[in-house]
Symmetry: C2
Subunit: 242 residues, 2 copies
Amino acid sequence: MARPDGLGAAFVEELATTSPFKRGNFTQVAADRLRDMIVEGTLAPGSKLQERELCQQMGISRTPMREAFKVLAADGLVVLHPSRGATVSRLRIDEVEEMFAVMSALEALSGELAAERITDEEIAEIRVIHAQMLLYYTRGELAPYFKCNQQIHEKILAAADNLTLANTYRGLAGRVRRARYIANMSQARWAQAVAEHEEILAALVARDGARLSALLKRHLKNKGETVRESLLAELPRRAAGG
Amino acid sequence: MARPDGLGAAFVEELATTSPFKRGNFTQVAADRLRDMIVEGTLAPGSKLQERELCQQMGISRTPMREAFKVLAADGLVVLHPSRGATVSRLRIDEVEEMFAVMSALEALSGELAAERITDEEIAEIRVIHAQMLLYYTRGELAPYFKCNQQIHEKILAAADNLTLANTYRGLAGRVRRARYIANMSQARWAQAVAEHEEILAALVARDGARLSALLKRHLKNKGETVRESLLAELPRRAAGG
DNA sequence: TCGGGAAATTATGCATTCAAAATGCCGGCT
DNA sequence: AGCCGGCATTTTGAATGCATAATTTCCCGA
């Protein structure tokens, strides 16, 4: 689901900054932009989406903006209140737990499928990213680490060669990404995650589907717990702060 | 995903037939109606969605109809061709296979979770539906059989108590439902499905999560194969017929 | 001073209008 | 005779307008 065509934020920027009249996909552009704003927290969970205001901000009219709201609502990032506008959906902790449960089931499947189908070349590519990721880990650079991490999971998803699976997964991943923005890993958790990734890579090389599946499932479960802990720790702070 | 609020077709009818001015959500109504039309085949896969025509048909204007298109596109039932309108998405056989693979992973999870949490009362309810289903089976009444079947899976999903899982599953189920409309089971397949359901019920009663999970997974896999066979058998006929 | 209610304001939902792009058609050109 | 290009028509995409529902404010009474 999410954005099957995958117009990235880059294009959004391109349109917003340069020639303002590239007719065709104001809706898509608005949706992607809103998505980014929600994920990075510019639009806080629970905050109201003022269509008038956002329209001015993006220099478009209400129609495509409203369509964008609908799309994001279908994605679960936004809640529509009939005749009362739209708000950024709050992600309750139990919801995040639910999502991670579902995602780990999907990761398990992707592991099974990937083990059957992955090519040596794909493994080699993953190996490169993996090594890069380790480097960032040793340097303690979290953001690029995450990026590599995500790329690896994307590669595995791609190797599974099941677009429906990939889209379903991405839909959920998009929704929890905002939680991850908030979440910070402890050193212990981080080390554990890296260790797990080593095992995952090994299972991938061995084409051991069952093992890979179990590893990925556990990996996601741990990630879920990390995020959960962070959220629990962060929640009271936020309540106090604003 | 899908329709989290779940306004059903009933409401659509209500609005369409009685007081025509119930201001509020023509978009939702239009989306649900289109969904039904697509699922039941009134709008054939690949056919163009003529917005003007559909607007007249439903007595609404283009704005909510276009919004409905966007929502259905996010659900995957409709494909938007920029500046060229929207068409009902075709479901390719490999896509159906993909969906069933994902659904079986989700069913497996729902089985695991349900086994942990299901109450005696819920089991009793399922037992009733199960018995009813068997009756329809012996009578050879396919449609009501399917309905019971679906209800059982819904009950298990409900028992799993994971809304995200349920919504994700429903999103996919909604998309493959059209395939099932076409599909017809062989007697052997039907008997096998019934036998599997017996086992599923037993595992549920025993609260055997691992077993239930495996059974559901296999069950869905078989269902997927059934649908696949039907589609393969139906495809050439359709090509010849029109 | 506080609470209730009505009017004004605001914002939402849908319709309509306006503009641009695509499709189809006709004529000219090779 | 067939193909390419330009013009008209159709259709889509976005903006604006209008009616209604929600919210806020303000006034009056207790």
